[in-house]
């Protein structure tokens, strides 16, 4: 008790004695604020569970997700098959467990490709303004002129169906909004007195953009990217559903829903289970994003 008190006192000190203590205090306050939002914590827990399931898939899944067993086809839920079996007798639970890897793969890759591109284009465009800004923003606008899914479809059509191509297509269509947000934030920040002040200390553009502007853009981008993850999951599943994303027999949730369509009248679990998985993960990202917004972007509420 007294030792936790002491820690708390150290963390909340009005006059921290080191940069580390100052940063720790900040993190602590942010964390405390975040933990108060139960729904956001719930979202975070689901995402943590998703990551663990994906990591330990071989140990969690009772069956091989790809091995067919026609004798056992279209079995309802049971102790042997928690979520039943599909039209060729594969265990749906195992397929969903392995499918979590594909989901993580897609959102991870899209975030790694799209976020840095968006941030760099946005901040550079916003900071320098003028011709650079005009050119970069024209390009961004061209990409924004297509509805996302349609452009992704066109790219998939050109590159051929498949999960890698779906990732590329989604990434290409995801960065423009990030660039827009980063640019907007940069323009507001750039005109702030503290940027003038650091310019007067003799700092060059690279130091200003990376050390002063980006850290301030990043919090609103993290919120946006987290919320977008939900959309990316839905888009990837949609591509899978149309037969343009991951190809059978790989256990991608959208593709599983698509094959289950033929059996919806009598074998409801074929579409219900993968659909629920998509919904739960996407909901988790939405809840986490909303919670992060309240912590990182205090101006939006209250």
């Amino acid at each position: 008790m007294s030792s936790t008190r002491r820690w708390q006192h150290w963390l909340l000190s009005d006059s921290p004695a080191s940069p580390f203590q100052a940063a720790a205090g900040r993190t602590y306050l942010g964390l405390a604020e975040f933990l108060k939002n139960r729904l956001a914590v719930f979202g975070l827990l689901i995402i943590a569970a998703l990551i663990l399931i994906a990591f330990f898939a071989p140990y969690i899944a009772p069956c091989d997700p790809l091995v067919t067993n026609l004798v056992n086809r279209l079995q309802p839920l049971s102790a042997a098959h928690y979520f039943g079996t599909d039209e060729v007798g594969r265990d749906i639970f195992s397929r969903i467990v392995w499918g979590s890897r594909l989901t993580l793969y897609v959102i991870g890759l899209v975030a790694i490709i799209a976020a840095p591109v968006g941030i760099i284009i946005g901040t550079v465009s916003g900071y320098f303004g003028g011709l650079i800004d005009t050119i970069l923003m024209r390009i961004t606008d061209i990409f924004l002129a297509f509805p996302k899914l349609i452009l992704a479809l066109a790219f998939v059509a050109a590159l051929g169906p498949g999960i890698e191509n779906a990732v590329i297509a989604i990434a290409i269509t995801s960065w423009p909004p990030y660039a827009r947000i980063a640019r907007g934030e940069t323009i507001t920040i750039r005109n702030g007195d503290f940027i003038k002040a650091i310019r007067l200390q003799g700092a060059g553009p690279i130091r200003i953009i990376t050390g002063h502007i980006m850290p301030l853009c990043i919090s609103s981008l993290i919120v946006r990217i987290t919320l977008d993850m939900a959309g990316i999951i839905l888009t990837a599943a949609g591509l899978g559903f149309l037969g343009l994303g991951a190809q059978p027999p790989s256990p991608e949730w959208g593709a599983m829903t698509s094959t289950g369509r033929a059996y919806i009248i009598d074998h409801w679990w074929l579409i219900t289970m993968p659909g629920t998985a998509i919904f739960v993960v996407s909901l988790a990202f939405n809840l986490l994003g909303d919670g992060l917004r309240e912590v990182l972007d205090p101006k939006s509420d209250n």
């Binding site: 606008d141 061209i142 297509f146 452009l151 949609g238 919806i264 219900t272 909901l283």
Partner: protein, 346 residues
């Protein structure tokens, strides 16, 4: 002094309009460039697609020259652009008809869905957002939040399938996939292409009710997503506006609360909301691809999906250009409205 002000206003407005049009032209140019690039990286040989893979080398070469594929890339692009601007989007391999003709045939079905969905979004979503912003933390606010969360998290195709199971297969309340029952097909003359309106023109009331029953599920489904989006955006815009000081001024004047909310605050939200409605219209075009697939709705989305699965590149790129152009047009229109409604932007 004030006359000068008016002259400035007019000059500025012309200046801005010209700027806007140039921007749109550049964006359209880029749109064509991207579709052109996509068309060029396709692994399918366009010549083979025309002459078939049993053609002799001479025929192949002739077709290649006829299609202009020996010309430098930039010449090819300008030829492509010229033909698109003349409304020539090529011929569909699947239907053997000009792509533009195909699209004009299927588009009204999509438009019908998108317009009804947008109406649901505007007339349900916006009031819902206003109420929940005014009574923050109330029961209604929580409902709005759940509607929003579900709208952002549920896969539209899955929700469509579940709706089909429940309302068609189990309860048999609503008809199944398709735009109309099979035995009613091809009775009504497609004057506008929009089934409901065509039925009214032809005074075929049985068919009208049948078509209406068919459209309920897909339109409500799309409308739900539009509502989720609009109510959430409206809520946050309203919260922002209600914090402003002019709201306090209105209250000081003794303005009734309902007029403060629906007149002053919503009046200021209307301007950003126009952009949001335009955006949501674009999202609906995209949602229609999945919805139309689920409900076998013969619109642009279904056409695009079928073309994709059959590697019919002319149709795919043609549809992409058409959707992109519509999107651009809607955005241009919203920008224009923005200029008209917001005195600060004039």
């Amino acid at each position: 002094m004030l006359q000068l002000f008016t002259i400035r206003r007019v000059k500025k407005a012309t200046h801005q309009t010209v700027r806007l049009l140039i921007m749109v032209a550049i964006t359209f140019f880029g749109l064509l460039f991207i579709t052109f690039l996509i068309g060029r990286v396709v692994p399918i040989d366009p010549v083979l697609a025309v002459v078939g893979d049993k053609a002799s080398p001479e025929v192949y070469q002739q077709a290649r020259l006829a299609m202009g594929l020996d010309l430098p890339v930039w010449r090819q692009f300008f030829i492509y652009m010229g033909s698109v601007l003349h409304g020539d989007l090529g011929t569909s391999v699947l239907t053997a008809k000009p792509v533009l003709q195909d699209i004009l045939r299927v588009f009204p079905a999509t438009l019908e869905l998108a317009v009804i969905a947008t109406c649901i979004g505007i007339f349900v979503g916006i009031p819902l957002g206003v109420f929940s912003a005014v009574k923050r933390g109330s029961f209604l606010d929580h409902i709005t939040r759940v509607i929003g969360l579900l709208g952002y998290s549920l896969p539209i195709f899955w929700l469509g399938l579940l709706a089909l199971i429940v309302f068609y297969a189990k309860l048999d309340l609503l008809p199944g996939p398709g735009r109309i029952d099979v035995f009613y097909e091809d009775i009504v003359d497609p004057v506008t292409g929009i089934m409901l309106i065509d039925c009214i023109i032809a005074r075929e009331w049985d068919i009208f009710w049948n078509a209406l029953a068919h459209i309920i599920m897909p339109a409500t489904l799309l409308g739900y997503y539009s509502m989720a989006y609009l109510s959430r955006m409206t809520r946050s815009f309203m919260i922002e506006q209600l914090r402003q000081e002019y709201i306090l001024t209105a209250r000081v004047k003794g303005v009734a609360e309902w007029r403060v909310i629906w007149g002053h605050a919503l009046g200021n939200c209307a301007i950003p909301l126009i952009t949001v409605v335009a955006l949501s219209f674009g999202t609906l075009l995209e949602g229609s691809v999945l919805t139309e697939t689920v409900f076998a709705w013969p619109g642009l989305g279904l056409y695009l999906t079928k073309s994709l699965l059959n590697a019919d590149m002319n149709s795919v790129l043609g549809s992409t250009i058409v959707v992109g152009t519509i999107f651009l047009g809607v955005n241009l229109f919203s920008d224009f409205l923005y200029k008209v409604l917001d005195p600060r932007a004039r």
